[in-house]
């Protein structure tokens, strides 16, 4: 499909007997913010390197921006790809500005744009300082600025929020949002699932070199049919009425922790449990319903794999 920026068909990568990527099929649409999650060693970084043409596939076919990931045509395509590696190494003896100008020249981007890029990632004041003196978060911001050189059409970001403080993470995703609005495709991996669950359009869960699940966060959650969690704050004498009322709901489990009660029930029993709780208005001070998080989904798929 022409609107797919990334097309992966049956991609395989072996390192000796190890199957780092084992028959991956994946399509990422233009303008999509796509997440790739998985345990350490699941094959995410290897897949990223294959997408960048850094590792040739042992088998299968990979096309990025319509090109196979080797040869002269892909060299041109690389001008439109920004990459932030997981282990970012920069040149300590250069200043932030010099670093960016060096990469800009290699990428064929305008070195004059480096100053505004540094401002964009919050390093405007540190641009003339040597990278040697940068904190981990500042290096990560500089690495991100490097990935943004030359107005890329595709960003491949491996653990991009490594070392960023909460403010930095917010600013980082704000920039990604702006880029996506301009049609830039973003593929990123992260171990901080709470951070990406509200931000990605779709995601793939990798395990042992394979795509175990693929879809929106909602679709993945639905597919697993994970139970719902209710968190209640009880009045001082609310525990006993709640216990008695839930005896008529055998699918719901109750856990009491002082004035806090946790109820877990299958998704399809949600309205029935809510009905029971509605009749206990004097016993309950407050109520929260928590949907399964991406972390729950991730752990759910881990249980399936076991």
């Amino acid at each position: 499909m022409a609107s797919n920026v990334i097309e992966v068909r049956g991609a395989v990568k072996h390192f000796g007997d190890t199957r780092a990527v084992d028959g991956v099929d994946l399509s990422v649409r233009a303008g999509e913010l796509f997440g790739l999650i998985g345990h350490n060693g699941a094959g995410k970084t290897t897949l990223f390197k294959m997408l960048l043409g850094l590792l040739p596939p042992t088998g299968g076919e990979i096309r990025v921006a319509g090109q196979p990931t080797h040869g002269e045509a892909f060299r041109q395509a690389r001008r439109g790809i920004g990459y932030l590696p997981e282990s970012l190494a920069l040149y300590d003896n250069l200043s932030g500005l010099e670093t960016l100008q060096f990469f800009a020249r290699l990428k064929g981007a305008d070195p004059a744009s480096c100053g505004s890029l540094l401002n964009k990632v919050g390093l405007g004041d540190a641009g003339r300082r040597r990278v040697r003196g940068y904190s981990k978060g500042m290096r990560q911001r500089l690495g991100f600025a490097q990935a943004l050189l030359g107005s890329p059409l595709l960003l491949i970001l491996d653990e991009p929020s490594n070392g960023l403080d909460p403010q930095g993470i917010r600013e980082f995703y704000q920039i990604l949002r702006e880029l996506r609005e301009r049609g830039v495709t973003v593929v990123l991996s992260s171990h901080i699932l709470a951070e990406i669950q509200l931000r990605v359009d779709r995601l793939a869960l990798m395990r042992a070199g394979k795509i175990q699940a693929l879809g929106t966060v909602h679709e993945l959650r639905e597919a697993l049919n994970l139970p719902l969690d209710f968190r209640l704050i009880l009045s001082p004498d609310g525990a006993e009425p709640l216990r008695r009322a839930l005896e008529r709901q055998p699918d719901a489990s109750l856990q009491l922790d002082g004035a806090i009660a946790h109820i877990r029930c299958p998704r399809e029993r949600k309205m029935a449990v809510l009905g029971v709780l509605a009749g206990l208005d004097r016993a309950i001070v407050d109520l929260q319903i928590r949907e399964p998080s991406l972390e729950d989904v991730f752990l759910g798929y881990s249980d399936i794999a076991r």
Binding site: G71, R78, R79, L88, N93, F102, K107, G108
Partner: protein
């Protein structure tokens, strides 16, 4: 699929490597070392014969050859051994190769940048000494000295090429540095002893017609022959005329062999790096 070589990324990498060596004063330091040694040797080179002061271009170059054979290969190997393996170990190689630059362009850029730094040091250091000695050298002497500088540069470029091959082959920087030292030890200290040993042990029992060719397998020996064959006295001093026929001592042939020593390891490095 073939990929063309673009000049711009080569120039960007070469420029960075060169500027790095200028900024950290590597070029200046090595140039000063070369200049100081050259001047000291020019003045005290004949001290063993009980004389002090400039004693002529032949004696000066004969002394400088010994110095250069020890110093230049070592400096070139140290300069280039971590060019690739260092980037790989730090993790910056992956980022570089994700950009529109091919491994060949990266390697060429590294080589040219480092070669530029080495050339500046060699030309600057020995050139400074040449300027200081110019009034004593005369035109012919100056021409000989210029030839010596050019051959010293070729020697450095050959060992730099070997260093880049090591840098591509080695798994980590420690191994690369160990290999670099071992190679220096072999080519500069061991190789000639081995040849001498073969000569002595053979006691004319074998046909040693191939023997002079063995000298071509060591860039340090090529450098030595290039410099000493021009001077009758020095040639006798080294005893080279007894083992090397004049046909094999042609400066063009020797120069060509040195260029081969630059191109071949670099070519192997490119092939392996791809």
């Amino acid at each position: 699929m073939k990929t063309s070589v673009e000049f711009k990324p080569v120039a960007v990498i070469a420029g960075k490597e060169f500027r790095d060596r200028i900024r950290n004063r590597w070029v200046l330091a090595v140039a000063l070392v070369f200049a100081a040694f050259a001047l000291v040797i020019a003045y005290f080179g004949a001290a063993q014969q009980g004389a002090v002061g400039f004693r002529g271009i032949d004696v000066t170059i004969a002394s400088l050859v010994s110095l250069v054979i020890y110093l230049v290969p070592l400096i070139a190997l140290i300069l280039g051994y971590d060019a690739i393996v260092g980037e790989r170990e730090r993790g910056s190689l992956e980022l570089l190769l994700s950009l529109p630059i091919t491994p060949l362009e990266l390697l060429l850029g590294k080589y040219l940048g480092l070669a530029g730094a080495l050339a500046c040091s060699t030309l600057g250091g020995f050139g400074l000494a040449g300027v200081a000695l110019a009034w004593k050298l005369g035109l012919v002497g100056l021409a000989h000295f210029a030839g010596f500088i050019a051959s010293a540069l070729l020697l450095g470029l050959a060992f730099l090429s070997i260093a880049l091959l090591l840098s591509v082959l080695a798994g980590d920087r420690v191994r690369a540095s160990g290999l670099a030292i071992a190679l220096w030890f072999f080519y500069v200290l061991v190789y000639d002893l081995l040849l001498l040993g073969i000569l002595v042990l053979s006691e004319r029992r074998f046909d040693l017609g191939f023997f002079p060719v063995l000298l071509y397998l060591n860039p340090a020996d090529i450098f030595r022959i290039l410099n000493v064959f021009g001077f009758e006295e020095v040639r006798k001093l080294y005893g080279l005329a007894t083992v090397l026929p004049a046909t094999l001592a042609s400066p063009w042939l020797l120069g060509g062999a040195m260029v081969a020593w630059i191109v071949a390891p670099l070519g192997l490095a490119v092939w392996r790096f791809k």
